[in-house]
Symmetry: C3
Subunit: 318 residues, 3 copies
Amino acid sequence: MYKFPYKDIISTKQFTRNDLENIFSIVKEMEEIVKSAKVSRLLEWKIMWSLFYEPSTRTRLSFESAMHKLGGDVLTVSDWSTSSLSKWESLEDNAKINSIYCDILTIRHPEVWSAEKTAKSVSKPVINAWDGANQHPTQSLLDVYTILKENKRLDNLHIAIVWDLKYGRTTHSLVYLMWLFENITFTFISPEELKMPEKVISFLDEKNIKYSKINDYKQWIKDADVLYVTRLQKERFTDLSEYERLKNDFILTLDVLKNAKKDITIMHPLPRVNEVSHDVDKLPNAAFFRQAENWLYVRMALLYLLLNQSEWKEFSSD
Amino acid sequence: MYKFPYKDIISTKQFTRNDLENIFSIVKEMEEIVKSAKVSRLLEWKIMWSLFYEPSTRTRLSFESAMHKLGGDVLTVSDWSTSSLSKWESLEDNAKINSIYCDILTIRHPEVWSAEKTAKSVSKPVINAWDGANQHPTQSLLDVYTILKENKRLDNLHIAIVWDLKYGRTTHSLVYLMWLFENITFTFISPEELKMPEKVISFLDEKNIKYSKINDYKQWIKDADVLYVTRLQKERFTDLSEYERLKNDFILTLDVLKNAKKDITIMHPLPRVNEVSHDVDKLPNAAFFRQAENWLYVRMALLYLLLNQSEWKEFSSD
Amino acid sequence: MYKFPYKDIISTKQFTRNDLENIFSIVKEMEEIVKSAKVSRLLEWKIMWSLFYEPSTRTRLSFESAMHKLGGDVLTVSDWSTSSLSKWESLEDNAKINSIYCDILTIRHPEVWSAEKTAKSVSKPVINAWDGANQHPTQSLLDVYTILKENKRLDNLHIAIVWDLKYGRTTHSLVYLMWLFENITFTFISPEELKMPEKVISFLDEKNIKYSKINDYKQWIKDADVLYVTRLQKERFTDLSEYERLKNDFILTLDVLKNAKKDITIMHPLPRVNEVSHDVDKLPNAAFFRQAENWLYVRMALLYLLLNQSEWKEFSSD
């Protein structure tokens, strides 16, 4: 039986290929629990503390749903940043006290490595739900799980990532996880202003992973097995005329997809603005709502693994 | 065994007399569960998503209490309107994603028919908890249930409705449900400025239901079996001097009630301002706090019925 | 078997020595439930309503955690003061309606005796979680429990209380409870501006309890069995230069503690600003994080006792 080797989930970089394969087998079991509407008490009376120093309705609620689906409870502070407490109490004191009232902490905080700092000061498991410009590891795990489910494999894939590669942190994390598999090729498509940052490019060069950079959909789409579209946020542009010029040019339509493989997997971290046209939703390989569903299963699996490290229980429902 | 025939609860107009009678027999069972303090797991691990785009502490919390009393869990977003997400994501995308993390959605949204729009875009049950100027169907069901409990019948009743008949949406819904019963007579008492809207009056004319309009309590009170008082909100008046003139004139006092039937049922959707004097509270037929109690039982019944359409379970507690 | 004799917890002054001893034996059982990670359903499907008219993340969440650890559920209103409802509905009407949807109410409200007023208008138990400048009885109970656990006795103690004795309401309540025990001596250390109020001093005089007032740490510290440090809040000072002068002078450091008894118990209600130096944390008798842990056990015990007055159940887990 796989024993989860980590107290915390801080970074995508902590995982090996073996970890992912084991995690995903648990994710599959979680999916079955939900789909069969079986009552599960695997995390009965365990308490998760949602500490969101930055608002995030969807991440917060999918974690909370995951906890409830396993019979656990949740304490929520969704507006911690406005609390007078946060102004002068140290992050460490705060974490130490908070950790008393819960069994696991999920934290979103604008400072880079704040989740790791928190994890080091408490004895209970900590999940990083975004530490500023740094990491959002649970998001990446579900992206990879979605690829596995949709494409039936994680090796030998050509992955195209589109749009905001500069600020779209999920795209960096996807690269950091997918390189663990065999024969992965990336294509990065973005306007110059939003191109993949140098640190990711250096990482790929160092690991000797194939990639290409391009700025037109139509040229490359025939090769992609996976198309990962990200949101184009107006506020990312210093030059708004640049945004206006691009925003219609990069919309994924049925027409753009004519040249694609029939079984291309279309992903999007959601919510979308207008970068994926609504007709695309009906395609059988438009996977983005299934991807959102995987948020739930992956988070259930991670909560379960972290809270059962020392006392593994068999899956059962009663 | 009655099988609930609807996926969603959107409008009072969707119900037949037969539906109401069946629903109310379940409501009675729910009341017994609560009063006997029996532990119920009828909705164990089912999750309700409270989506309140407009604030409403009391409606929200009575739904959440109902869910917990049946062993279910709740995800709450009580300030969705201020979320940046709500600004540019479509209501349909939002509902589709939200519905993944829950088993049932309770929605309050300022747009007319927003609940129906939501219900059409998701596969899970949706309860309308007020869609702008339109409907608040669960409130009307508990009003009718209160009449049944207090008066022991739903036929042959004279119902007087008082005060703000223009904006008091619960009064419209009450009319739309009570017409289903035999020999109902309405009296509408209000200042001209707040009179019952034409669409309700036309409905009554069309259905051939008896009603009269009047603007003085004392004249008619001897005939009423039910007196439904609504809140007089200052902000509804364009002419504040009109408000000042009326506000004391229309207070329900023990004195006003001298001419009433001994067993008149006095109802109020609460909270009240000053339109019902506090001495009235002590009368055995002052039903408004029992009416507030019925919020809980009716909402328990509706949650139960919606979540058990395809897999009816016997009532049991363990 | 001890039968809890109160419907509500309103004031520290309601308790006898016998009550405290019995409560603390239940607190100890609660601690065991949590530490053994046993699943407890003692309060299954009981609902606590957290009504916080003034924000308090930590008090609120420790109550909510306590409820969940016993299998109960929680309804939260953490921003009631901003609700339009609170503006014109009477506290009594509000409490009466709220109490319908829960089994117990925890209330924080800025008005003195608001909790007692609430308790009198509803039939369900009410816990005072701070009523303005008045009382915070659950905090005092856990302070006394901490002393018992750390010092192994509640009689024959010298208790030194430091810093903000004027606004630090927990210090007043500590006095009101500790006088119940034999041979207690208090030392109050504070700047003149923040000295213990006359009502507490009169209480001690009337009960004939020994105390002294002093304004320097080093003089007295050799006698203390317990050192209770409170927060020094900048906003309490009318003269900021006074704050600047004091803030470093009164810091508890390892150096200050050189003259103390080896087993002195160091307490702090937390959060701290800088009045306890971080090196002190490592001392085995630095009890403040254990004190924060006791918040949970004491609140579990009180919720349990209040909700089981008429139907005492044996402790069991399944």
